[in-house]
Symmetry: C2
Subunit: 236 residues, 2 copies
DNA sequence: CAGTGGTCTAGACCACGCC
DNA sequence: GCGTGGTCTAGACCACTGG
């Protein structure tokens, strides 16, 4: 029953846990690489691989000749990539959804291009109102290739997170999202839903989700409430 | 006159250049790690360190048992972090600025907290209209600690990029920016400048720039034109 | 000076994809 | 089976920081 998890992954989990529990405090030094070598009975290159990754994700930073420190600016990698459900839960809100449309339809040229499929292939179109504590926060319109996710329409996306279904039943995980964001005046039915008024200020976000094989798995075109939803972004 | 640039850095530059020149094409395989070992007369760990970094930055992706490939989704790291001037130049626009205000003032509590300085220390306040091909795109308000950048007021920020001045004269480079983005209705003088109207839709972006020592160097509170400016974001 | 991180070597064995 | 990337070892020397 030996662990098959790579040692460097174990070290990453260990350090993350110690940061989360406050045992390693923000701005404070953590044990030296040599100490981790002894503790995990491994070589320095392995320890460095672990720390490299944590530095890259913004958890730690190094100063040559001094040591390795816990970042003041803890940045939760993959927060956004994990989707609305996870994001809202993290913030302490109860997420829910109302499905407006869920159907199979012919692929428009723009969407075919984004998803890198042929316009003759069909897509699922899922349109939902996303809510936090029952307040409407966004209208999310997602297109997914039918061929890649056959039978997706048996699931209810009022109860289920789309990402959970893709992960559990299609073994597909989102690696990154490439998005464009701008501000718009929202009118018509979407304004009615989000603002209960004829007009309101919103953010339009369009983009593609890419999986671990660098294949596009979904194209989204969504409208977020301008003031209820704040994007938290790290540029590097 | 031997090179003091680390070998893995040389390999990174080499591969990037080959991607830029189209010698390594999008989606195509690049030479194996072993081949790079021979070519650069180095060990595999060194080659891997180089490729690791390029994978991390989205230039390459690996498939175990097959090889390493050039990403379809080439994402230029640090595009945003390099600031408005660089960003606009990349997009093919001619950036320019008009300074509205540039003065030393007492630090408000919120800003002191963001910059991690005492409220008794002063800050420089720089407010500019940012333009692309002479069209107003954004109002950018930046606060910088006086103590950290003494004499900053001798520079003209109509001609100079703020980041260039910080880099050249203060040896300070931005490592990352932590920003919050939402949509707002812009009114008053800012609407007049950006939209030549009484009202318009914009994006409010507030955040902190962090340097390579993880110190905060600037706090910004800016308004971007809602439709003329599109944020390009990668979530991972 | 001792201790830290930064770079590097020359091997090794394993898991996976393809033929 | 062979070549690929994934993980790992047990050292080495250097550059930098601090006392």
């Amino acid at each position: 029953m030996t662990d098959t998890i790579p040692i460097y992954q174990q070290i990453i989990s260990y350090i993350k846990e110690y940061i989360d529990n406050g045992i390693y405090q923000k701005g404070n030094i953590i044990p030296s690489e040599q100490e981790f070598c002894n503790q995990f009975n491994t070589s320095r290159m392995t320890v460095r691989k672990a720390i490299d990754e944590l530095v890259n994700d913004g958890y730690l930073y190094r100063i040559q000749g001094r040591g390795t420190f816990v970042s003041h600016w803890v940045y939760r990698k993959s927060l956004e990539v994990l989707g609305f459900t996870y994001h809202m839960t993290q913030l302490g809100y109860k997420p829910s959804s109302k499905v407006l449309t869920f159907e199979t339809k012919r692929t428009e040229p723009l969407i075919a291009e984004k998803l890198k499929i042929l316009p003759t292939e069909n897509v699922y179109f899922l349109s939902r109102v996303r809510m936090a504590d029952l307040e409407p926060i966004a209208i999310e319109n997602v297109y997914l290739p039918e061929k890649r996710f056959p039978g997706l329409d048996v699931y209810s996306f009022e109860e289920n997170s789309l990402y959970d279904v893709l992960k559990t039943y299609y073994k597909t995980e989102v690696l990154l999202k490439q998005e464009k964001i701008n501000a718009i005046m929202v009118e018509g039915i979407y304004a009615k839903i989000l603002f209960e008024k004829d007009k309101g200020v919103g953010m339009r976000m369009t983009g593609v989700d890419i999986d671990t094989n660098m294949s596009p798995i979904a194209y989204a075109n969504s409208i977020y409430h301008g003031t209820k939803y704040i994007f938290d972004v790290i540029f590097r």
